[in-house]
Protein backbone atom coordinates (compact mmCIF):
# COMPACT_ATOMS: atom_id res chain seq x y z
CA UNK A 1 0.00 0.00 0.00
CA UNK A 2 2.84 2.37 0.69
CA UNK A 3 3.54 2.66 -3.00
CA UNK A 4 0.15 4.17 -3.57
CA UNK A 5 0.97 7.65 -2.52
CA UNK A 6 3.89 7.64 -0.19
CA UNK A 7 7.49 7.94 -1.16
CA UNK A 8 8.26 7.83 -4.84
CA UNK A 9 7.27 10.58 -7.16
CA UNK A 10 7.43 13.34 -4.62
CA UNK A 11 10.02 15.09 -6.73
CA UNK A 12 8.52 17.40 -9.29
CA UNK A 13 8.48 15.82 -12.72
CA UNK A 14 11.23 16.83 -15.07
CA UNK A 15 13.57 18.19 -12.47
CA UNK A 16 15.47 15.03 -11.67
CA UNK A 17 19.19 14.74 -12.00
CA UNK A 18 19.93 18.14 -10.54
CA UNK A 19 23.03 18.55 -12.70
CA UNK A 20 25.25 15.73 -11.51
CA UNK A 21 28.72 17.02 -10.90
CA UNK A 22 31.49 17.03 -13.48
CA UNK A 23 32.51 13.66 -14.75
CA UNK A 24 29.17 11.92 -14.14
CA UNK A 25 27.29 14.30 -16.33
CA UNK A 26 27.32 11.84 -19.20
CA UNK A 27 25.74 9.17 -17.04
CA UNK A 28 22.37 10.92 -17.21
CA UNK A 29 22.30 12.34 -20.68
CA UNK A 30 20.04 10.69 -23.18
CA UNK A 31 21.95 8.82 -25.86
CA UNK A 32 20.78 8.54 -29.48
CA UNK A 33 19.58 5.05 -28.61
CA UNK A 34 17.42 6.50 -25.85
CA UNK A 35 15.83 8.92 -28.28
CA UNK A 36 15.29 6.15 -30.79
CA UNK A 37 13.55 3.96 -28.19
CA UNK A 38 11.34 6.81 -27.12
CA UNK A 39 10.50 7.89 -30.64
CA UNK A 40 9.43 4.37 -31.56
CA UNK A 41 7.33 4.14 -28.39
CA UNK A 42 5.83 7.55 -29.09
CA UNK A 43 4.94 6.53 -32.62
CA UNK A 44 3.28 3.31 -31.48
CA UNK A 45 1.33 5.24 -28.84
CA UNK A 46 0.03 7.91 -31.13
CA UNK A 47 -0.42 6.10 -34.42
CA UNK A 48 -3.65 4.17 -33.66
CA UNK A 49 -5.28 7.37 -32.42
CA UNK A 50 -4.17 9.22 -35.51
CA UNK A 51 -5.33 6.41 -37.77
CA UNK A 52 -8.73 6.24 -36.09
CA UNK A 53 -9.30 9.94 -36.72
CA UNK A 54 -7.91 9.71 -40.25
CA UNK A 55 -10.25 6.83 -41.11
CA UNK A 56 -13.18 8.74 -39.69
CA UNK A 57 -12.67 11.25 -42.50
CA UNK A 58 -12.55 8.70 -45.36
CA UNK A 59 -15.25 6.94 -47.36
CA UNK A 60 -16.02 3.24 -47.16
CA UNK A 61 -14.68 2.39 -50.62
CA UNK A 62 -11.06 2.80 -49.49
CA UNK A 63 -11.12 0.66 -46.34
CA UNK A 64 -10.09 -2.51 -48.13
CA UNK A 65 -7.31 -0.86 -50.15
CA UNK A 66 -3.82 -2.30 -50.23
CA UNK A 67 -1.68 -0.69 -48.93
CA UNK A 68 -4.12 0.52 -46.27
CA UNK A 69 -5.11 4.20 -46.43
CA UNK A 70 -3.08 6.30 -44.04
CA UNK A 71 -3.99 9.88 -44.85
CA UNK A 72 -7.12 11.75 -43.82
CA UNK A 73 -9.78 12.40 -46.42
CA UNK A 74 -12.52 14.96 -46.80
CA UNK A 75 -15.54 13.05 -45.58
CA UNK A 76 -15.32 13.77 -41.83
CA UNK A 77 -18.40 15.99 -41.74
CA UNK A 78 -20.43 13.52 -43.76
CA UNK A 79 -19.50 10.61 -41.48
CA UNK A 80 -20.37 12.56 -38.36
CA UNK A 81 -23.70 13.54 -39.86
CA UNK A 82 -24.42 9.88 -40.63
CA UNK A 83 -23.34 9.02 -37.12
CA UNK A 84 -25.89 11.25 -35.45
CA UNK A 85 -28.60 10.17 -37.89
CA UNK A 86 -27.91 6.45 -37.49
CA UNK A 87 -31.07 4.78 -36.18
CA UNK A 88 -29.23 1.99 -34.28
CA UNK A 89 -26.54 3.96 -32.50
CA UNK A 90 -28.65 6.48 -30.51
CA UNK A 91 -25.46 8.45 -30.56
CA UNK A 92 -26.68 11.85 -29.41
CA UNK A 93 -28.50 10.25 -26.52
CA UNK A 94 -25.44 8.21 -25.66
CA UNK A 95 -23.26 11.31 -25.58
CA UNK A 96 -25.74 13.17 -23.41
CA UNK A 97 -26.11 10.22 -21.02
CA UNK A 98 -22.34 9.90 -20.71
CA UNK A 99 -21.90 13.61 -20.06
CA UNK A 100 -24.55 13.55 -17.34
CA UNK A 101 -23.36 10.34 -15.69
CA UNK A 102 -19.66 11.23 -15.79
CA UNK A 103 -20.34 14.79 -14.65
CA UNK A 104 -22.50 13.79 -11.68
CA UNK A 105 -20.20 10.98 -10.57
CA UNK A 106 -17.17 13.27 -10.82
CA UNK A 107 -18.71 16.03 -8.72
CA UNK A 108 -20.04 13.72 -6.01
CA UNK A 109 -16.86 11.65 -5.86
CA UNK A 110 -14.67 14.71 -5.41
CA UNK A 111 -17.04 16.20 -2.83
CA UNK A 112 -17.64 13.10 -0.70
CA UNK A 113 -14.08 11.83 -1.02
CA UNK A 114 -12.54 15.15 0.05
CA UNK A 115 -15.02 15.42 2.92
CA UNK A 116 -14.20 11.94 4.19
CA UNK A 117 -10.51 12.32 3.42
CA UNK A 118 -10.42 15.47 5.53
CA UNK A 119 -12.15 13.67 8.40
CA UNK A 120 -9.68 10.79 8.27
CA UNK A 121 -6.64 13.02 7.99
CA UNK A 122 -7.44 15.80 10.41
CA UNK A 123 -10.33 15.02 12.76
CA UNK A 124 -10.34 12.90 15.85
CA UNK A 125 -13.02 10.30 16.28
CA UNK A 126 -13.54 6.86 17.70
CA UNK A 127 -12.90 3.88 15.42
CA UNK A 128 -10.95 5.93 12.89
CA UNK A 129 -8.21 3.41 12.18
CA UNK A 130 -10.56 0.49 11.79
CA UNK A 131 -12.83 2.43 9.47
CA UNK A 132 -9.86 3.49 7.36
CA UNK A 133 -8.76 -0.12 7.07
CA UNK A 134 -12.18 -1.01 5.71
CA UNK A 135 -11.70 1.61 3.01
CA UNK A 136 -8.31 0.24 2.02
CA UNK A 137 -9.77 -3.27 1.89
CA UNK A 138 -12.58 -2.17 -0.41
CA UNK A 139 -10.03 -0.88 -2.88
CA UNK A 140 -9.00 -4.48 -3.46
CA UNK A 141 -12.50 -5.67 -4.36
CA UNK A 142 -13.17 -5.58 -8.07
CA UNK A 143 -16.44 -3.86 -8.88
CA UNK A 144 -17.46 -6.48 -11.42
CA UNK A 145 -17.60 -9.07 -8.67
CA UNK A 146 -20.95 -7.84 -7.48
CA UNK A 147 -22.47 -7.19 -10.87
CA UNK A 148 -25.08 -9.96 -10.67
CA UNK A 149 -26.69 -8.93 -7.37
CA UNK A 150 -26.19 -5.30 -8.33
CA UNK A 151 -28.36 -6.03 -11.32
CA UNK A 152 -30.93 -7.72 -9.08
CA UNK A 153 -31.00 -4.64 -6.85
CA UNK A 154 -31.68 -2.52 -9.91
CA UNK A 155 -34.51 -4.83 -10.91
CA UNK A 156 -36.01 -4.46 -7.43
CA UNK A 157 -35.66 -0.69 -7.57
CA UNK A 158 -37.05 -0.55 -11.08
CA UNK A 159 -33.87 1.16 -12.26
CA UNK A 160 -33.21 -1.09 -15.25
CA UNK A 161 -32.51 1.02 -18.28
CA UNK A 162 -32.52 4.14 -16.08
CA UNK A 163 -29.53 6.43 -16.11
CA UNK A 164 -29.31 6.53 -12.31
CA UNK A 165 -28.35 2.86 -12.39
CA UNK A 166 -24.92 3.82 -13.76
CA UNK A 167 -24.59 6.80 -11.40
CA UNK A 168 -25.76 5.95 -7.90
CA UNK A 169 -23.54 2.90 -7.19
CA UNK A 170 -20.47 4.99 -8.06
CA UNK A 171 -21.15 8.20 -6.14
CA UNK A 172 -17.96 7.82 -4.12
CA UNK A 173 -15.10 5.32 -4.15
CA UNK A 174 -12.80 4.03 -1.44
CA UNK A 175 -9.89 4.88 -3.65
CA UNK A 176 -10.97 8.53 -3.78
CA UNK A 177 -11.32 8.74 -0.01
CA UNK A 178 -7.91 7.19 0.53
CA UNK A 179 -6.24 9.44 -2.02
CA UNK A 180 -7.74 12.61 -0.53
CA UNK A 181 -6.80 11.49 2.95
CA UNK A 182 -3.17 11.01 1.93
CA UNK A 183 -3.08 14.42 0.36
CA UNK A 184 -4.94 16.25 3.14
CA UNK A 185 -2.55 14.88 5.71
CA UNK A 186 0.37 16.88 4.35
CA UNK A 187 -1.41 19.72 2.53
CA UNK A 188 -3.51 21.14 5.37
CA UNK A 189 -1.63 22.47 8.41
CA UNK A 190 -3.28 21.67 11.75
CA UNK A 191 -2.79 25.25 12.92
CA UNK A 192 -4.97 26.50 10.12
CA UNK A 193 -7.80 24.24 11.21
CA UNK A 194 -7.41 25.26 14.84
CA UNK A 195 -7.38 28.92 13.87
CA UNK A 196 -10.57 28.50 11.89
CA UNK A 197 -12.20 26.79 14.84
CA UNK A 198 -11.18 29.61 17.15
CA UNK A 199 -12.72 32.01 14.68
CA UNK A 200 -15.98 30.18 15.12
CA UNK A 201 -16.16 27.98 12.06
CA UNK A 202 -18.23 24.82 12.19
CA UNK A 203 -16.48 21.68 11.08
CA UNK A 204 -18.18 21.89 7.72
CA UNK A 205 -17.23 25.55 7.52
CA UNK A 206 -13.61 24.56 8.07
CA UNK A 207 -13.89 22.01 5.29
CA UNK A 208 -15.49 24.44 2.89
CA UNK A 209 -13.31 27.49 3.56
CA UNK A 210 -9.97 26.05 4.60
CA UNK A 211 -9.59 22.42 3.59
CA UNK A 212 -11.23 22.26 0.19
CA UNK A 213 -9.17 25.15 -1.24
CA UNK A 214 -6.00 23.48 0.02
CA UNK A 215 -7.02 20.16 -1.54
CA UNK A 216 -7.69 21.66 -4.94
CA UNK A 217 -4.73 20.10 -6.82
CA UNK A 218 -5.50 16.57 -5.63
CA UNK A 219 -9.22 17.12 -6.10
CA UNK A 220 -8.52 18.14 -9.69
CA UNK A 221 -6.59 14.97 -10.43
CA UNK A 222 -9.21 12.80 -8.75
CA UNK A 223 -11.91 14.56 -10.74
CA UNK A 224 -10.10 14.05 -14.04
CA UNK A 225 -9.60 10.36 -13.46
CA UNK A 226 -13.08 9.79 -12.14
CA UNK A 227 -14.48 11.44 -15.24
CA UNK A 228 -12.32 9.31 -17.52
CA UNK A 229 -13.20 6.13 -15.70
CA UNK A 230 -16.94 6.76 -15.71
CA UNK A 231 -16.85 7.82 -19.35
CA UNK A 232 -15.10 4.55 -20.26
CA UNK A 233 -17.21 2.19 -18.19
CA UNK A 234 -18.47 -0.62 -20.39
CA UNK A 235 -19.53 -3.81 -18.64
CA UNK A 236 -21.98 -2.46 -16.12
CA UNK A 237 -23.80 -0.11 -18.52
CA UNK A 238 -23.98 -3.00 -20.98
CA UNK A 239 -25.66 -5.13 -18.34
CA UNK A 240 -28.15 -2.62 -17.03
CA UNK A 241 -28.96 -0.30 -19.95
CA UNK A 242 -30.76 -1.20 -23.16
CA UNK A 243 -29.32 -0.35 -26.58
CA UNK A 244 -31.88 2.46 -27.00
CA UNK A 245 -30.75 4.29 -23.85
CA UNK A 246 -26.98 3.88 -24.11
CA UNK A 247 -23.88 5.56 -22.82
CA UNK A 248 -21.50 6.63 -25.54
CA UNK A 249 -19.49 3.41 -25.20
CA UNK A 250 -22.65 1.39 -25.77
CA UNK A 251 -23.45 3.57 -28.77
CA UNK A 252 -20.22 2.60 -30.47
CA UNK A 253 -20.89 -0.98 -29.44
CA UNK A 254 -24.26 -0.69 -31.19
CA UNK A 255 -22.41 0.34 -34.34
CA UNK A 256 -19.98 -2.56 -34.06
CA UNK A 257 -22.92 -4.94 -33.61
CA UNK A 258 -24.68 -3.92 -36.80
CA UNK A 259 -25.12 -6.61 -39.43
CA UNK A 260 -23.55 -4.48 -42.09
CA UNK A 261 -20.27 -3.18 -40.75
CA UNK A 262 -19.96 0.44 -41.76
CA UNK A 263 -16.31 1.04 -41.03
CA UNK A 264 -15.95 4.77 -41.47
CA UNK A 265 -19.10 5.19 -39.39
CA UNK A 266 -17.57 3.09 -36.60
CA UNK A 267 -14.37 5.13 -36.73
CA UNK A 268 -16.35 8.37 -36.65
CA UNK A 269 -18.15 7.02 -33.59
CA UNK A 270 -15.00 6.01 -31.76
CA UNK A 271 -13.37 9.34 -32.64
CA UNK A 272 -16.25 11.35 -31.24
CA UNK A 273 -16.40 9.10 -28.17
CA UNK A 274 -12.72 9.67 -27.48
CA UNK A 275 -12.67 13.37 -28.36
CA UNK A 276 -13.85 14.79 -25.01
CA UNK A 277 -11.17 12.78 -23.25
CA UNK A 278 -8.51 13.89 -25.70
CA UNK A 279 -9.48 17.53 -25.15
CA UNK A 280 -9.32 17.08 -21.39
CA UNK A 281 -5.98 15.38 -21.86
CA UNK A 282 -4.51 18.14 -23.99
CA UNK A 283 -5.56 20.78 -21.45
CA UNK A 284 -4.60 18.86 -18.31
CA UNK A 285 -1.85 16.59 -19.67
CA UNK A 286 0.70 17.76 -17.11
CA UNK A 287 -1.65 17.21 -14.19
CA UNK A 288 -2.52 13.74 -15.46
CA UNK A 289 1.18 12.86 -15.69
CA UNK A 290 1.68 14.24 -12.19
CA UNK A 291 -1.30 12.27 -10.95
CA UNK A 292 -0.03 8.98 -12.34
CA UNK A 293 3.47 9.59 -11.03
CA UNK A 294 2.17 10.26 -7.55
CA UNK A 295 0.16 7.07 -7.67
CA UNK A 296 -3.15 8.84 -7.98
CA UNK A 297 -4.59 6.50 -10.57
CA UNK A 298 -5.77 3.03 -10.18
CA UNK A 299 -5.51 0.76 -13.17
Amino acid sequence: MTTLLAGPGRRPAGKHAAAPAGRFRGLWNASPLTYLTLLVALFLSIFPIYWMIAMATRTNDVVADVPPPLLPGGNGGGNIERLFNNPDAFFAKGLLNSVIASGVVTVTTVFFASLAGFAFAKLRFRGKNGLLLVIIATMMIPVQMGIIPLYMIMVELGWQNQLQAVIVPFLVTGFGVFMMRQYAEQAVPDELIEAARVDGCTTFGIYWRVVLPALRPAAGVLGLFTFMQTWNEFMWPLAVLNPDNPTVQLSINNLANAHFQDYTLMFAGTSVAVLPLLIVFIIFGRQIIGGIMEGAVKA
Binding site: S45, I46, P48, M145, M152, W231, V248, I252, G285, A299
Partner: protein, 329 residues
Amino acid sequence: MTTDLRPSRNGPPPPSPAKADPGPRRTWRARLARLDVKGAPYAFISPFYIVFLIFGAFPLLFTLWVSLHDWELASGTRDFVGLDNYDYLLTDADFWHATVNTIGIFMIATVPQLLLALMIANALNRRMRVPTLFRIGMVAPLVTSTAAVAIVFTQMFDQDWGMINWFLGLFGVDAIAWSSSRGWSWVAIAVMVDWRWTGYNALIYLAAMQAIPKDLYEAAAIDGASRIRQFWQITVPMLRPTIIFTVIISTIGGLQLFTEPVLFSIHTPNKMEGGPLHQFQTITMYMYDNAFYSDRYGYGATVAWALFVMIIVFSLINFLAVRRTGGTK
Protein backbone atom coordinates in the same frame (compact mmCIF):
# COMPACT_ATOMS: atom_id res chain seq x y z
CA MET B 1 -24.49 25.58 7.57
CA THR B 2 -24.80 28.24 10.19
CA THR B 3 -21.57 29.84 11.18
CA ASP B 4 -22.70 31.72 14.26
CA LEU B 5 -22.32 28.66 16.46
CA ARG B 6 -19.39 29.36 18.69
CA PRO B 7 -17.48 26.21 19.40
CA SER B 8 -16.52 26.17 23.00
CA ARG B 9 -13.34 24.14 22.69
CA ASN B 10 -10.37 26.51 22.68
CA GLY B 11 -12.75 29.28 21.69
CA PRO B 12 -12.84 32.68 23.33
CA PRO B 13 -15.67 33.29 25.76
CA PRO B 14 -18.81 34.36 23.92
CA PRO B 15 -19.29 38.11 23.65
CA SER B 16 -21.54 40.37 25.69
CA PRO B 17 -25.00 38.83 25.16
CA ALA B 18 -23.80 35.61 26.69
CA LYS B 19 -22.31 37.57 29.58
CA ALA B 20 -25.65 39.18 30.26
CA ASP B 21 -27.50 35.89 30.12
CA PRO B 22 -25.08 33.03 30.71
CA GLY B 23 -27.73 30.41 31.36
CA PRO B 24 -29.56 28.16 28.91
CA ARG B 25 -28.50 29.80 25.70
CA ARG B 26 -24.83 29.23 26.29
CA THR B 27 -25.23 25.58 27.10
CA TRP B 28 -27.42 25.16 24.08
CA ARG B 29 -24.68 26.57 21.91
CA ALA B 30 -21.99 24.62 23.64
CA ARG B 31 -23.97 21.48 23.16
CA LEU B 32 -24.41 22.11 19.47
CA ALA B 33 -20.74 22.86 19.16
CA ARG B 34 -19.88 19.65 20.93
CA LEU B 35 -22.26 17.75 18.72
CA ASP B 36 -20.54 19.32 15.74
CA VAL B 37 -17.09 18.29 16.89
CA LYS B 38 -18.18 14.78 17.80
CA GLY B 39 -20.65 14.10 15.04
CA ALA B 40 -19.19 15.85 12.03
CA PRO B 41 -16.47 13.27 11.34
CA TYR B 42 -19.04 10.50 11.18
CA ALA B 43 -21.30 12.59 9.01
CA PHE B 44 -18.40 13.29 6.66
CA ILE B 45 -17.36 9.70 6.20
CA SER B 46 -20.85 8.21 6.12
CA PRO B 47 -21.61 8.78 2.40
CA PHE B 48 -18.86 6.36 1.43
CA TYR B 49 -20.00 3.69 3.85
CA ILE B 50 -23.64 4.02 2.84
CA VAL B 51 -22.81 3.66 -0.85
CA PHE B 52 -20.37 0.87 -0.14
CA LEU B 53 -22.74 -1.11 2.08
CA ILE B 54 -25.60 -0.99 -0.40
CA PHE B 55 -23.72 -1.32 -3.68
CA GLY B 56 -20.43 -2.95 -2.64
CA ALA B 57 -20.51 -5.15 0.44
CA PHE B 58 -24.08 -6.34 0.12
CA PRO B 59 -23.76 -7.44 -3.53
CA LEU B 60 -20.54 -9.28 -2.74
CA LEU B 61 -22.13 -11.31 0.04
CA PHE B 62 -25.36 -11.67 -1.87
CA THR B 63 -23.38 -13.14 -4.75
CA LEU B 64 -22.40 -15.93 -2.38
CA TRP B 65 -26.06 -16.48 -1.47
CA VAL B 66 -27.21 -16.46 -5.09
CA SER B 67 -24.47 -18.93 -5.99
CA LEU B 68 -26.12 -21.49 -3.74
CA HIS B 69 -29.30 -21.40 -5.80
CA ASP B 70 -30.79 -22.24 -9.12
CA TRP B 71 -31.67 -18.62 -9.69
CA GLU B 72 -33.51 -17.41 -12.78
CA LEU B 73 -34.99 -13.96 -13.15
CA ALA B 74 -37.37 -14.60 -16.03
CA SER B 75 -39.13 -17.62 -14.51
CA GLY B 76 -38.67 -16.54 -10.91
CA THR B 77 -37.00 -19.84 -10.02
CA ARG B 78 -35.08 -19.70 -6.74
CA ASP B 79 -34.31 -23.22 -5.65
CA PHE B 80 -31.70 -23.71 -2.98
CA VAL B 81 -29.23 -26.25 -4.31
CA GLY B 82 -26.41 -25.99 -1.79
CA LEU B 83 -22.99 -26.46 -3.31
CA ASP B 84 -24.26 -28.04 -6.53
CA ASN B 85 -23.17 -25.07 -8.61
CA TYR B 86 -19.66 -25.31 -7.21
CA ASP B 87 -19.65 -29.02 -7.86
CA TYR B 88 -20.61 -28.40 -11.44
CA LEU B 89 -18.02 -25.64 -11.77
CA LEU B 90 -15.17 -27.99 -10.88
CA THR B 91 -15.98 -30.28 -13.80
CA ASP B 92 -17.26 -27.60 -16.19
CA ALA B 93 -14.99 -27.83 -19.22
CA ASP B 94 -16.22 -24.47 -20.54
CA PHE B 95 -15.26 -22.74 -17.32
CA TRP B 96 -11.76 -24.21 -17.32
CA HIS B 97 -11.39 -23.43 -20.99
CA ALA B 98 -12.21 -19.80 -20.21
CA THR B 99 -9.81 -19.89 -17.28
CA VAL B 100 -6.96 -21.08 -19.48
CA ASN B 101 -7.81 -18.36 -22.01
CA THR B 102 -7.83 -15.68 -19.34
CA ILE B 103 -4.55 -16.73 -17.81
CA GLY B 104 -2.97 -17.18 -21.22
CA ILE B 105 -3.94 -13.69 -22.36
CA PHE B 106 -2.92 -12.27 -19.01
CA MET B 107 0.56 -13.81 -19.20
CA ILE B 108 1.12 -12.83 -22.82
CA ALA B 109 0.02 -9.30 -21.98
CA THR B 110 1.64 -8.67 -18.62
CA VAL B 111 5.17 -9.94 -18.95
CA PRO B 112 6.15 -7.94 -22.07
CA GLN B 113 4.13 -4.99 -20.84
CA LEU B 114 6.05 -4.61 -17.61
CA LEU B 115 9.42 -5.26 -19.25
CA LEU B 116 8.69 -2.66 -21.93
CA ALA B 117 7.49 -0.25 -19.29
CA LEU B 118 10.76 -0.67 -17.40
CA MET B 119 12.72 -0.01 -20.58
CA ILE B 120 10.72 3.08 -21.44
CA ALA B 121 10.93 4.39 -17.88
CA ASN B 122 14.68 3.91 -17.93
CA ALA B 123 14.87 5.91 -21.13
CA LEU B 124 12.57 8.63 -19.79
CA ASN B 125 14.78 8.91 -16.72
CA ARG B 126 17.62 10.40 -18.79
CA ARG B 127 18.12 14.09 -19.23
CA MET B 128 16.69 14.98 -22.60
CA ARG B 129 14.93 17.51 -24.74
CA VAL B 130 11.15 17.86 -24.48
CA PRO B 131 10.66 15.33 -21.66
CA THR B 132 7.05 16.39 -21.13
CA LEU B 133 6.17 15.68 -24.75
CA PHE B 134 7.45 12.13 -24.44
CA ARG B 135 5.65 11.56 -21.17
CA ILE B 136 2.36 12.89 -22.42
CA GLY B 137 2.73 10.83 -25.59
CA MET B 138 3.25 7.65 -23.57
CA VAL B 139 -0.01 7.99 -21.67
CA ALA B 140 -2.15 9.22 -24.56
CA PRO B 141 -3.51 5.67 -25.03
CA LEU B 142 -4.84 5.79 -21.49
CA VAL B 143 -7.30 8.54 -22.31
CA THR B 144 -8.83 6.71 -25.23
CA SER B 145 -11.75 4.53 -24.29
CA THR B 146 -11.28 0.78 -24.04
CA ALA B 147 -14.20 0.11 -26.34
CA ALA B 148 -12.87 2.50 -28.98
CA VAL B 149 -9.41 0.94 -28.81
CA ALA B 150 -10.87 -2.53 -29.20
CA ILE B 151 -12.83 -1.50 -32.29
CA VAL B 152 -9.84 0.20 -33.92
CA PHE B 153 -7.47 -2.68 -33.22
CA THR B 154 -10.00 -5.24 -34.37
CA GLN B 155 -9.88 -3.55 -37.77
CA MET B 156 -6.09 -3.48 -37.72
CA PHE B 157 -6.01 -7.19 -36.94
CA ASP B 158 -8.42 -8.14 -39.72
CA GLN B 159 -7.07 -11.22 -41.43
CA ASP B 160 -7.69 -10.18 -45.04
CA TRP B 161 -7.07 -6.47 -45.24
CA GLY B 162 -5.97 -5.41 -41.80
CA MET B 163 -2.99 -3.12 -41.53
CA ILE B 164 -0.98 -5.48 -39.34
CA ASN B 165 -1.08 -8.42 -41.73
CA TRP B 166 -0.25 -6.02 -44.56
CA PHE B 167 2.76 -4.75 -42.63
CA LEU B 168 3.94 -8.26 -41.76
CA GLY B 169 3.43 -9.20 -45.39
CA LEU B 170 6.10 -6.67 -46.37
CA PHE B 171 8.53 -8.95 -44.55
CA GLY B 172 7.18 -12.04 -46.21
CA VAL B 173 5.00 -13.22 -43.33
CA ASP B 174 1.84 -15.02 -44.42
CA ALA B 175 -1.50 -13.58 -43.33
CA ILE B 176 -2.13 -14.55 -39.71
CA ALA B 177 -5.59 -15.71 -38.64
CA TRP B 178 -5.80 -13.31 -35.73
CA SER B 179 -9.33 -14.06 -34.64
CA SER B 180 -9.85 -17.72 -35.48
CA SER B 181 -6.60 -19.11 -34.08
CA ARG B 182 -6.64 -19.52 -30.33
CA GLY B 183 -3.04 -18.49 -29.70
CA TRP B 184 -3.02 -15.58 -32.14
CA SER B 185 -6.27 -14.21 -30.81
CA TRP B 186 -4.69 -14.12 -27.38
CA VAL B 187 -1.76 -12.19 -28.82
CA ALA B 188 -4.05 -9.70 -30.56
CA ILE B 189 -6.00 -9.04 -27.36
CA ALA B 190 -2.78 -8.78 -25.36
CA VAL B 191 -1.55 -6.14 -27.80
CA MET B 192 -4.69 -4.07 -27.16
CA VAL B 193 -4.18 -4.31 -23.42
CA ASP B 194 -0.50 -3.47 -23.65
CA TRP B 195 -1.01 -0.56 -25.97
CA ARG B 196 -3.23 1.01 -23.37
CA TRP B 197 -1.31 0.27 -20.18
CA THR B 198 2.43 0.19 -20.97
CA GLY B 199 2.86 3.96 -20.79
CA TYR B 200 0.96 4.13 -17.54
CA ASN B 201 3.23 1.57 -15.94
CA ALA B 202 6.28 3.30 -17.39
CA LEU B 203 5.33 6.52 -15.62
CA ILE B 204 4.84 4.70 -12.34
CA TYR B 205 8.29 3.17 -12.71
CA LEU B 206 9.74 6.52 -13.69
CA ALA B 207 8.40 8.10 -10.53
CA ALA B 208 10.03 5.40 -8.45
CA MET B 209 13.30 5.63 -10.40
CA GLN B 210 13.54 9.32 -9.69
CA ALA B 211 13.53 8.54 -5.99
CA ILE B 212 16.61 6.29 -6.28
CA PRO B 213 19.66 8.19 -4.97
CA LYS B 214 21.90 9.18 -7.85
CA ASP B 215 25.13 8.48 -5.99
CA LEU B 216 24.36 4.75 -6.15
CA TYR B 217 24.81 4.92 -9.90
CA GLU B 218 27.86 7.12 -9.62
CA ALA B 219 29.50 4.67 -7.27
CA ALA B 220 28.66 1.84 -9.64
CA ALA B 221 30.07 3.81 -12.56
CA ILE B 222 33.32 4.33 -10.68
CA ASP B 223 33.47 0.58 -10.15
CA GLY B 224 33.11 0.16 -13.89
CA ALA B 225 29.58 -1.25 -14.02
CA SER B 226 27.98 -0.87 -17.42
CA ARG B 227 24.62 0.82 -17.83
CA ILE B 228 22.93 -2.52 -18.41
CA ARG B 229 24.48 -3.91 -15.27
CA GLN B 230 23.46 -0.80 -13.32
CA PHE B 231 19.93 -1.28 -14.57
CA TRP B 232 19.65 -4.87 -13.40
CA GLN B 233 21.66 -4.50 -10.19
CA ILE B 234 20.50 -1.12 -8.94
CA THR B 235 17.36 0.03 -10.68
CA VAL B 236 15.38 -3.20 -10.68
CA PRO B 237 16.08 -4.17 -7.04
CA MET B 238 15.31 -0.64 -5.87
CA LEU B 239 12.01 -0.74 -7.74
CA ARG B 240 10.87 -3.99 -6.16
CA PRO B 241 7.93 -2.53 -4.14
CA THR B 242 6.74 -0.65 -7.20
CA ILE B 243 7.06 -3.72 -9.38
CA ILE B 244 5.00 -5.72 -6.90
CA PHE B 245 2.38 -2.99 -6.97
CA THR B 246 2.15 -2.96 -10.77
CA VAL B 247 2.11 -6.76 -10.97
CA ILE B 248 -0.80 -6.96 -8.55
CA ILE B 249 -2.71 -4.18 -10.28
CA SER B 250 -2.12 -5.90 -13.64
CA THR B 251 -3.26 -9.21 -12.19
CA ILE B 252 -6.50 -7.80 -10.87
CA GLY B 253 -7.17 -6.06 -14.18
CA GLY B 254 -5.97 -8.96 -16.34
CA LEU B 255 -8.10 -11.63 -14.71
CA GLN B 256 -11.19 -9.48 -15.18
CA LEU B 257 -10.50 -8.84 -18.85
CA PHE B 258 -13.77 -8.17 -20.62
CA THR B 259 -14.18 -5.21 -22.96
CA GLU B 260 -11.38 -5.99 -25.41
CA PRO B 261 -12.30 -9.62 -26.13
CA VAL B 262 -16.02 -8.78 -26.27
CA LEU B 263 -15.46 -6.22 -28.99
CA PHE B 264 -12.87 -8.40 -30.70
CA SER B 265 -15.54 -11.00 -31.43
CA ILE B 266 -16.97 -8.78 -34.07
CA HIS B 267 -18.12 -11.48 -36.46
CA THR B 268 -19.95 -13.77 -34.05
CA PRO B 269 -23.59 -13.35 -33.05
CA ASN B 270 -23.07 -13.93 -29.31
CA LYS B 271 -20.24 -11.64 -28.36
CA MET B 272 -19.81 -13.26 -24.96
CA GLU B 273 -18.68 -16.54 -26.50
CA GLY B 274 -15.31 -15.17 -27.58
CA GLY B 275 -15.36 -16.61 -31.08
CA PRO B 276 -17.10 -19.67 -32.50
CA LEU B 277 -14.83 -22.08 -30.62
CA HIS B 278 -14.74 -19.90 -27.51
CA GLN B 279 -11.08 -19.46 -28.34
CA PHE B 280 -10.79 -16.17 -26.47
CA GLN B 281 -13.70 -16.29 -24.05
CA THR B 282 -12.54 -14.96 -20.67
CA ILE B 283 -13.94 -15.85 -17.25
CA THR B 284 -15.81 -12.57 -16.97
CA MET B 285 -17.39 -13.14 -20.37
CA TYR B 286 -18.41 -16.64 -19.29
CA MET B 287 -19.98 -15.23 -16.14
CA TYR B 288 -21.80 -12.57 -18.13
CA ASP B 289 -22.98 -15.10 -20.68
CA ASN B 290 -24.40 -17.40 -18.01
CA ALA B 291 -26.11 -14.70 -16.01
CA PHE B 292 -27.37 -12.13 -18.45
CA TYR B 293 -27.78 -14.14 -21.65
CA SER B 294 -28.74 -17.58 -20.36
CA ASP B 295 -30.60 -16.44 -17.22
CA ARG B 296 -28.51 -18.72 -15.02
CA TYR B 297 -27.79 -16.15 -12.33
CA GLY B 298 -27.00 -18.76 -9.71
CA TYR B 299 -24.24 -20.30 -11.76
CA GLY B 300 -23.04 -16.90 -12.93
CA ALA B 301 -22.61 -15.93 -9.29
CA THR B 302 -20.62 -19.11 -8.71
CA VAL B 303 -18.28 -18.16 -11.54
CA ALA B 304 -17.96 -14.66 -10.04
CA TRP B 305 -16.86 -16.10 -6.71
CA ALA B 306 -14.42 -18.45 -8.38
CA LEU B 307 -12.93 -15.45 -10.15
CA PHE B 308 -12.68 -13.51 -6.91
CA VAL B 309 -10.83 -16.35 -5.21
CA MET B 310 -8.57 -16.66 -8.22
CA ILE B 311 -7.70 -12.97 -8.10
CA ILE B 312 -6.73 -13.22 -4.45
CA VAL B 313 -4.68 -16.38 -5.00
CA PHE B 314 -2.88 -14.94 -8.02
CA SER B 315 -2.13 -11.68 -6.25
CA LEU B 316 -0.58 -13.64 -3.40
CA ILE B 317 1.46 -15.86 -5.73
CA ASN B 318 2.71 -12.83 -7.62
CA PHE B 319 3.56 -11.05 -4.45
CA LEU B 320 5.54 -13.98 -3.12
CA ALA B 321 7.23 -14.73 -6.44
CA VAL B 322 8.35 -11.17 -7.03
CA ARG B 323 9.57 -10.86 -3.48
CA ARG B 324 11.47 -14.11 -3.73
CA THR B 325 13.24 -13.33 -7.00
CA GLY B 326 14.07 -9.86 -5.78
CA GLY B 327 15.36 -11.19 -2.49
CA THR B 328 17.88 -13.61 -3.90
CA LYS B 329 19.72 -11.02 -5.93
